[in-house]
């Protein structure tokens, strides 16, 4: 079992909070697509013939690509890798790209999951975030997607922004639940260096982020999730009827993945590597048959820490049987000693393992640090 991630490094405009890798200059677009195809061929053995269960177009803004472009890439994936029967093919889309024709095209391409970057249903938020769409477009595109036949839809909503009052946040959630979609990714706004938001705060043009409000909105989210039959299966991910994101879940489940395109990350259980976050350097590397990337070999210490980081975000938590198969006796001993010292309120111990109850997921780094190796 394995996954493929394809990074589409272009956006129409830069959102104020975002530090993901993208360029707003689309001139390299066709060369990037060619290079991604080339990379796929170069690295076809990376996943060692494991069947592909998930294919994920992320970004940047994959919905900027034409039907043709997506088709070429997808076809190459199907040609190059063994594909599992029930493969999840997901695409991140921005509302402003999702007109009816676009949605029909995506459906034709057998993309079977959409992750739509709504962020908010309030124009005030959207303007502050410098998003390219407005509230109406957000609502309309979801309805159209459903009309076209998409069932497995997720949207992204951000809370804790300076412009978002608790009431506005509740309204966002109400709109979400009224739309009858099975999945929500809801992120607390994270301040990243060198973003416009960072600049605004540093120069006093925007207020600092309000941690207390942020937490209140997390609690509001928790309540409304309960009241609407949703389940939190990861720190920032909620679904009903088991409609989890299979692809993202693989990141937290010790599964191999191949990341294609600039800045994409790959993992083969022993190493992690990531492509250069620069479109020209990426293209140049591929052209010279010399992929530009950085790699780290994972020590047992790293693998243990990665296991803590990924698993403690999820409702499944740490499983003793995983520890047994993945780590040495000494490490398991360390884990046991440390887990006995953790503030008992923050963790839930079960016979099969340890997890963080969801009301404390917001403090999960504290738990992770207490289990860390010195």
């Amino acid at each position: 079992m394995a996954g493929i991630y394809i990074h589409i490094p272009f956006c129409k405009q830069a959102c104020s909070y975002c530090d993901f890798h993208f360029s707003t200059n689309l001139k390299n677009r066709s060369r990037i697509i060619e290079s991604i195809i080339q990379e796929m061929i170069m690295r076809q053995n990376y996943l060692e013939e494991e069947p592909i269960e998930t294919i994920y177009f992320g970004g940047g803004t994959p919905s900027l690509l034409t039907k043709k472009e997506l088709d070429v890439v997808l076809n190459q994936v199907y040609k190059t890798f063994p594909i599992a029967k029930e493969v999840e093919v997901c695409l991140e889309a921005n509302p402003d790209d999702l007109n009816k024709q676009k949605l029909i095209d995506l459906n034709d391409l057998e993309i079977n999951r959409l992750s739509i970057g709504v962020q908010s249903f309030h124009n005030e938020d959207l303007i502050f975030m410098n998003r390219a769409h407005n509230s109406d477009e957000a609502k309309t595109c979801i309805k159209t997607a459903q009309d076209v036949g998409f069932k497995n839809i997720s949207i992204d909503l951000i809370f804790g922004s300076q412009t978002t009052s608790n009431q506005m946040w509740e309204e966002n959630l109400n709109v979400f639940f009224s739309l009858d979609i099975p999945h929500l990714s809801s992120y607390s706004l994270t301040l990243e260096e060198k973003t416009k938001l960072d600049y605004l705060i540093k120069t006093g043009k925007a207020n600092k982020l309000d941690e207390d409000k942020n937490f209140q909105q997390y609690l509001i989210l928790q309540d409304s999730i309960d009241n609407n039959g949703f389940e939190q299966y990861e720190l920032s991910n909620y679904c009903k009827n088991q409609a989890i994101s299979k692809h993202n879940t693989s990141y937290w489940s010790h599964v191999k993945y191949l990341g294609l395109g600039p800045s994409a990350h790959s993992f083969n259980l022993k190493e992690r590597q990531w492509n250069v976050s620069n479109n020209s350097l990426y293209i140049k590397g591929i052209a010279e048959n010399n992929l530009a990337f950085e790699k780290e070999l994972l020590s047992e210490r790293d693998r243990y820490h990665d296991y803590l980081i990924t698993r403690l975000r999820t409702k499944w938590g740490i499983l003793y049987k995983d520890l047994e198969t993945l780590f040495s006796k000494q490490l398991i001993e360390h884990f046991k000693n440390k887990s006995n010292l953790i503030n008992p309120e923050l963790v839930k111990k079960e016979s099969s393992g340890i997890k963080i109850p969801r009301q404390h997921l917001f403090q999960s780094d504290e738990v992770i640090r207490s289990l860390w190796l010195d």
Partner: protein
Amino acid sequence: MDNIRNFCIIAHIDHGKSTLADRLLEKTATITMRELQAQTLDDMDLERERGITIKSHAIQMKYMHEGIPHILNLIDTPGHVDFSYEVSRSIAACEGALLIVDAAQGIQAQTISNLYLALEHDLEIIPVLNKIDLPSAMPEEVKDQIVDLIGCNREDILSASGKTGEGIAEILEAIVQRIPAPVGDPSAPLQALVFDSVFDSYRGIFAYYKVINGEIKKGEKVKFVNTGKEYFADEVGVLKLKKEARDSVKTGDVGYIISGIKSAKEVKVGDTLTTVANPCKEAIQGFEVVKPMVFAGIYPVDTEEYEELREAMEKLQLNDASLTFEPESSAALGFGFRCGFLGMLHMEIIQERLEREFDMTVITTVPNVSYYAYLNKTPDVPILINNPSDLPEVTILNKVEEPYIKAQIITKSDYVGSIMNLCIEKRGELLNQIYLTTDRVELVFHMPLAEIVFDFYDKLKTISRGYASFDYHPIGYKESKLVKMDLLLNGDQVDALSALIHKDKAYDLGKRICLKLRELIPRQQFEIAIQAAIGAKIIARENVKALRKDVTAKCYGGDISRKRKLLEKQKKGKKRMRQIGNVEVPQNAFMAVLKLDD
């Protein structure tokens, strides 16, 4: 002996002593071009990084004058006030001094104080106007100032640039012609003045001396007159860029000795060195013992590193006899040391050397000066208080005295008003105001030493835009209305944060310290109450709210490495925190009181 000249270079900080020394070393070919760097003599990492001289540095040069080889022993000295004792010792080994004055800045406070030190020892002063290459140089004006200050002839002032090398030849000539050769009796019993000692981890302790009478020979049995200790002179020699062994060092010359001395305490700077076989009659008059001005506790962040810290301090002391320390314990911090420093820069440097050279992570507590407390039952017996926690209870306390200094500030007349306000705010009393020229003023104040410990320098620099220089001397103790202010974290008193402060300022300071701590103590799982108290009375309170969010909620896709690195970093940061009760307090919070305005 007639061909030896011993001189030091003295000046206000940054007036270009070490750079000028470079040029002299270069001109006399004492060091090769390859060995030469900027401020070659500043060979400690810390000196190089900060661009200041911390320790005096002696070096010997050869110079041909009218066909006759001369030996010139140069001692470069530090300019910062904290290290003025280094200047005094160097002066004692010399017959002359180059008094350097920056042509753009003119006479500054340490120019004057170091000049007086040199005059007390009857040194021949050669005034040098330096940095004449600077566009902002005011040579004529500064020459006026120099003439006024030392009463020399205008023509006696040399002009030079350590940058371009201009005037260096004239300086060397003047050294030979104007500075007298040392006087001494080569046939008398050995009498050498020990003016410095350094520790070398490979070779042990080196003592530096100037031979006043007689000579010191390799292999002889020697004796330090004051300590009475005897050693074999395993090696003697002169101080080139590297040390050069000789069979003997003769009258008037400056040299070193290695003699199996184990601990720095065995060598007292200022002691007299003589031979066991033929001892001199009298010891040379030594130096006053340097007294620490500022005290602070130094504690290991990790309580288990106490012994390691002790070893590190002992080693540091080998190189820096002015550092004092004795064990103390704190309820909040466990075992550590109460250390005495010459000033705030000295304290900072010690902390930095501990971290850098010995890989120790330490907490330095709020610095304080030493006080005298008097009890009601024995109102005439002073009790020395070097730690605020030792102050007796108010109920039995009769009075407290604190050390005062005489402060001298030289500034431009534009800033006189704001500097006076600052000094008055710092409980200073103006004694004198002298116009040195129409726009340069000297202000003389009496003020409590404790006030300059707390953010005085920085404020002085800010309000004068750098155009104020400052010097001070202790003048004794005076009674003061001092109270002990305690700080409490979640109700528990943290002794390491206690400070003695003036009663009238207590409320204001308490408030500001609480606010500063609120900024420095990171949010934790629970709310933290920070309180300032005098006795049982709470005078200020702030809260650090409980940490609600301790996670990056944003999705990083498959990028797990980034998060792992972030957590590794946080984990490292935790190692620099000290758990007090259930509160984790970062290292820098203990110095919070010093940085109230940042």
